[in-house]
Symmetry: C3
Subunit: 175 residues, 3 copies
């Protein structure tokens, strides 16, 4: 089990054909990376892949099974276009969906623009790894992440707890 004093290990995956081809800078990934580091988390790796369902599924499963990261943040591919497959690939690998965190991100997005309703970002656990979809727009990605950042350490703590326990961490007493 991860010691709670250690910083959370984060892998950032940018979903973008053009960034993967080197045709475009990874603005979304850079913005997320900056927010992650400001929060005192450790970026273990950054990955850039095209919007390909099979590639993303395999990447997420490999990260989870190798326990390389506590959290995977994806950026991009959450919308409604044909190439937007991030939510579906995430749904294919998670065993526990966390709709409350999705809601907090949606709510934060809607405070900025009604178009945030079209982001279909999913949050869930694949093994002991928490996967969080963020939109590809740098500002949107950071806004969404900020809406749940303070809850992530506790979420990972509960997800990775190994001792047999019998409390419900999902609704702890107010601190």
């Amino acid at each position: 089990m991860r010691l709670s004093s250690q910083p959370l290990n984060v892998i950032i995956i940018t979903l973008s054909r053009r960034v993967s081809l080197g045709e475009r800078a990874d603005a979304g990934g850079d913005a997320v990376a900056e927010a992650v580091q400001s929060a005192g988390m450790h970026i273990r790796e950054r990955i850039v892949i095209a919007d390909d369902y099979e590639t993303l599924v395999a990447t997420l499963q490999q990260i989870s099974s190798s326990a390389k990261a506590d959290i995977v943040l994806t950026t991009g591919g959450t919308g409604l276009s044909e190439t937007d497959i991030t939510p579906e690939a995430t749904l294919a690998v998670i065993s526990k969906r966390v709709q409350g965190l999705e809601f907090l991100m949606l709510q934060a997005g809607l405070q900025k623009t009604p178009h945030a309703a079209l982001s279909r970002a999913v949050v869930g656990a694949c093994g002991k790894t928490l996967i969080v979809n963020l939109p590809g727009n740098p500002r949107g990605a950071v806004e969404n992440l900020s809406a749940i950042l303070s809850i992530l350490p506790h979420a990972v703590h509960v997800l990775q707890a190994e001792q047999v326990r019998d409390e419900d961490h999902s609704h702890p007493a107010k601190k």
Copy 2:
């Protein structure tokens, strides 16, 4: 690709055994049709069917595969009774669910009555067609539709974009 200057083509499907038998006027469909026309959209067709899962699945798939409409609005069958199969039939045909639009409709409904929590309306894309479930109650249907009406043109635009693109339309800069 649809020209953005063209009005959106809408098909309205009323789910109701009694309306399909001619025993009752189609108040829900009429109310939705009026709202659609007021919004400058074009009603391509109105369909009335009984609350039958297989019929609705086949109807939705046929509309999508023939590209007859940009948007399908269903009215009725979103509740908890045995005959309410609209959300399940919709889930069976969509490949991308848009929970943010579902949330905007739920939120609008809850401002009127807590019973709106029992509408299980689903929104999602089947091919290049956006399917939106609305409740059967005429007032509720129009309230729900109004909550997302301004976002629908952009949603369809993103859904139907054919050029290979690499932006995330799901969270655009505020305009």
Copy 3:
């Protein structure tokens, strides 16, 4: 069909290894029971089981098929830890999910603590029985239940209506 003058029959299921072993008092179940009785509903049975997916699935199916209860309230197992299988077991048995009721509970929880976003409580219908997941924390369970308590009689009424009807109960006129 249940007469609306009869109190709703409720079965409370506590999901907890330690309570099932007698190592711990059933604080969550007790708190839910008190709230249920205060609301004038009838507790038909209380069940305590360990956090075991197969056991919970079988228990829920048996209650539904025997029509022993109008409502099943579960407490516990809604979080992110390995033993938290209540939402997944519930999803496996329901045919109609009621996300609006889930949202009302989430919203109530978030007013107390952002950690409520980690409760993954599901609400849905299994046959004619409405299943509601509540967190295991006694205070959280009662808060969540209180957020939807006034809507439950109407939800059960619609769910159990046997006459062929043609109204949409999901969005009735304000009363």
